[in-house]
């Protein structure tokens, strides 16, 4: 099912609008991630889709049907809440069967569906337990099974991974991806973690300040961000930024002059800073203040005369004084309003 949000406005009491003129489209059968910092309005979007909030203005469409004022229970949606909201007084089996019971499905049919879902989320041996007896990861899988029970047209996941530890996160991220592929249900995943979004989403929507900043695949967002906010929210370590005036002259020369003159801010990806022989005319002298090993990679903190930069392209070294070259494909130029005017090779 394709979901369309058109010109949505929503403000909580006595606060500036959380969403203003917000429009977005979620393609049918795909997993869309809403990525943004807390307070960006991403949970608000989810609650609007769920029908737990009603917009002050604007429309929501499920395919061609308008559902803006339709009650949650008539929207045919499955939702996984942030800390799962499993009914504590029901067993895993009855939790999963709950939406079917509400729809007056007969008990035998109900439990058959539960068996299917338990298989899908790999919880078959835990059906008789109560939620409090399960680990966080198991609870999450039960919550997903419950959300899928009535074969919803839309699956909403509200930060489903945020309360889990790193190893489990990886596992369950995979799990969500697998289940979404197996069922083909249109899915929205809200997260503040770019790794969650990059690893499983077909398309990522970046939200900040109540506005949709950009929609695209992980590659597109990284290579061709529309603005500084997007560029800063994708990529780890975060994009190095500096004012154009602070950039050393030797590096300015590798950037295209026509765009450079319009720009106020330069963004430098960490992989664009590499070691170069001092004889090269486009190098800048720098000192290494800190180098840390992050698994396979090294993350190096550098200082030039004017800048503090982070690089991941420097090899492990004991030197502190180094000559650093700048790779133009890892550079971004931003205009005064934050718009990206040049992104390494092509202009945005």
């Amino acid at each position: 099912m394709q979901v369309t949000l058109r010109d949505i406005k929503l403000a909580y009491d006595h606060q500036p609008a959380t969403l203003n003129h917000f429009s977005a489209q979620l393609p049918d059968g795909q997993l869309t991630a809403l990525l943004g910092p807390s307070g960006s309005g991403k949970s608000t979007v989810l609650n609007l889709l769920a029908g737990l909030l009603t917009p002050d203005a604007g429309q929501i469409y499920f395919d061609q049907t308008e559902v803006t004022h339709l009650a949650s229970r008539q929207r045919h949606i499955g939702m996984v809440f942030q800390d799962y909201a499993l009914y504590p007084h029901l067993t895993v089996r009855d939790n999963i069967a709950f939406p079917l019971k509400m729809a007056h499905v007969r008990k035998a049919a109900r439990y058959q569906r539960v068996a299917e879902l338990a298989q899908l989320v790999q919880m078959t041996d835990q059906l008789a337990k109560f939620p409090r007896q399960l680990s966080g990861g198991q609870q999450q899988r039960v919550a997903i099974a419950r959300a899928l029970a009535k074969r919803p047209d839309l699956l909403l996941l509200d930060e489903p991974l945020s309360s889990l530890d790193t190893t489990l996160r990886e596992d369950l991220r995979e799990g969500i991806h697998r289940i979404q592929r197996a069922t083909g249900v249109t899915t929205v995943l809200v997260t503040h973690d770019q790794d969650d979004a990059l690893q499983i989403a077909d398309q990522i929507m970046i939200l900040a300040d109540g506005r949709l900043q950009q929609v695209g695949t992980g590659t597109a967002l990284y290579r061709h961000p529309h603005n500084l906010t997007v560029a800063q929210s994708i990529g780890r370590p975060q994009l190095n930024t500096c004012a154009v005036t602070a950039l050393p002259t030797a590096w300015r020369q590798v950037l295209p002059l026509e765009y450079y003159q319009q720009a106020t801010t330069v963004g430098i990806r960490s992989e664009a800073l590499h070691l170069e022989t001092p004889t090269d005319p486009h190098t800048v002298a720098g000192t290494i203040s800190r180098q840390i090993q992050l698994g396979r990679d090294h993350q190096t903190t550098l200082h030039t005369a004017t800048l503090r930069l982070v690089s991941t392209a420097l090899p492990a070294t004991l030197q502190t004084a180094v000559s650093i070259g700048l790779d133009p494909t890892g550079c971004l130029l931003f205009a005064a309003d934050g718009r990206c005017i040049w992104a390494g090779d092509a202009h945005a």
Binding site: A50, R75, F81, A85, M102, R132, A149
Partner: protein, 302 residues
Amino acid sequence: MLNAKPTWKSTLKTLLYLAPLLLITAVFTIWPLLNAFLMSVYTKYNYFTDHVGAIGWNNFAYLWHDPLFHLACRNTLLLALVATPLTVALSLLIAYGLNRIHHLARFFRTIYFLPFVTSTIAVGLVWNWIFRLDGGLLNRILGWFGYSAIDWLNDPHYALAALMVVCVWQGLGFNILLFLASLNHIDQRYTAAARLDGANAWQRFTNVTWPLLLPMTILIIVNTALTNFKVFDQVYALFHGSAGPGNADLTLLYYLYQKFYVENQYAVAAASGVIFFLLIGGVTLLTYGYFRHRRRQMGGRL
């Protein structure tokens, strides 16, 4: 130290801290309780000289054959069995309503809580006026609907019902407060989840809210049942120091009071007290047992 092991010394020290309260409990609760149990088997007993002539089950035999005691038992059980569910159901309904309205909720909460903090004597007098045959509020309202006036307080058929009304009304305030606290404690996400799972308002209440309220409901049922077993002052105030027309509102505690203070049959009063004790003890154990059973059923939660 969080992992300190209890020793004899530490236990003694703890007892020393507890001693003042333990002493008060022993003197004013445990000693009288023991005495009451003992007194219930004294048969030839002079209360003023504390002379015990003989010991035996005669007092209990007396109660066994006393039609007044039977009446008191019947009235008390009837009162508890009717007033308790009514009180609990009404307070749940009102608390649920108050929880959902946003305006004036505080005002209504105060109104409902007032009976709990008002003296029973004052309450009894006001209800006495409400129930009056001529000019009473209740009969006036009945009159508007075309019913003939009922002499609530002097007709043996209605006197117990009148008492029930007062007991229910007086029990509402505190129970509403407890239910409201418990309702506020239920995580909103459960109802939101149920909404998305397709549950309508009634299904949300029966499948989510009600089961989550169960621990509090059991507590309230026990508490209300005990309160309704112990009705005395309401009778006293409503009927100006009698047990109602033809003893229609004679409760167990009123019976005990009469035996002790009016008829000076101290040992019989003590025996009825023992039976009363066993009765409410039994009710408490029964509900507690049910509670434990449910807790085990729900995987140790609650």
